[in-house]
């Protein structure tokens, strides 16, 4: 089978990527694996997009209603931030 050869060049803005790639042992293998992983991700993107849209809709739905102090604590314990707190922090900093 004929060897599959390719020559690639990098734009200046990707010089850090070029330097990082230079440090890899087998560059062809490294690039091939990265591309393969990206192809795999691409297949999964559709599902992730739907998930993201659903989450956004749910978040907007939650913010449509005022939240009491007791609920506020619960929300924060889940690692989120309240709209009121976010507004205050954004005013301060």
């Amino acid at each position: 089978m004929k060897r599959l050869r390719m020559s690639i060049s990098f734009k200046k803005q990707y010089s850090h990527v070029y330097e990082y790639l230079q440090r890899q042992g087998n560059k062809s293998e490294y690039i091939a694996k990265l591309v393969e992983r990206d192809m795999q991700n691409y297949r999964e993107t559709g599902e992730q997009e739907i998930r993201k849209i659903v989450l956004e809709v749910l978040q907007n739905y939650v913010h449509m209603f005022p939240v009491s102090m007791s609920n506020a604590t619960a929300t924060q314990n889940n690692g989120g931030i309240l709209k009121e707190d976010a507004d205050l922090i954004n005013q301060l900093f």
Binding site: H16, V17, D85, A86, L88, N90, F93
Partner: protein
Amino acid sequence: MKVNGKAFVFRINQIFVLPEGIGPVYSEINEFRHKRSLVIDIGSLNVNFQEFTNLIPSFQQMVTADLGINLLRSKISDALTSRYGTTVLDLDVERLLRGDKYLYLNGEKQEDSKEIVEKNIGNHVKEIFNHARSRKISFNNTEVIFVGGGSLFLKDYILREYPAAVIHADAQFVNVLSFLKILEAKQYEKA
């Protein structure tokens, strides 16, 4: 930059200027919602004082003093050098502070060295409080919270000077946790 052998590339898009010693005020936001608090952050180089009332920082009460742990280390090394007439390096003091606080010269324990070390630490802590008071920072009706790696090291001496002080359990990382909360608020604004 590499973390655990894995390469990460960071691109900085935006910068926010925040008080250095912010403590747990925003990471534990419900605790400080209706409270006046004074955060004292003891770092390697300096000590930051920042007062908050109901989550709002008072920038008139934001003070920095060159009283970090490195300065204390130098003070102790100077005191021991002058007492024993031999050079005691900052590195020696570092080891001594992590141990029993006695200086050993040629394998011989210097009995009065511990007293010198403890006196210097005690005075340094007093200096931190005096600096705040001299800058009109009030300790009345305020919860005083110590953060920063230095506050863990000085814990016993701080509590001796100010028994009501709270030394935060996650003193080394709590500032960053509050910064993370501010970042969440910024992301919320964008969403």
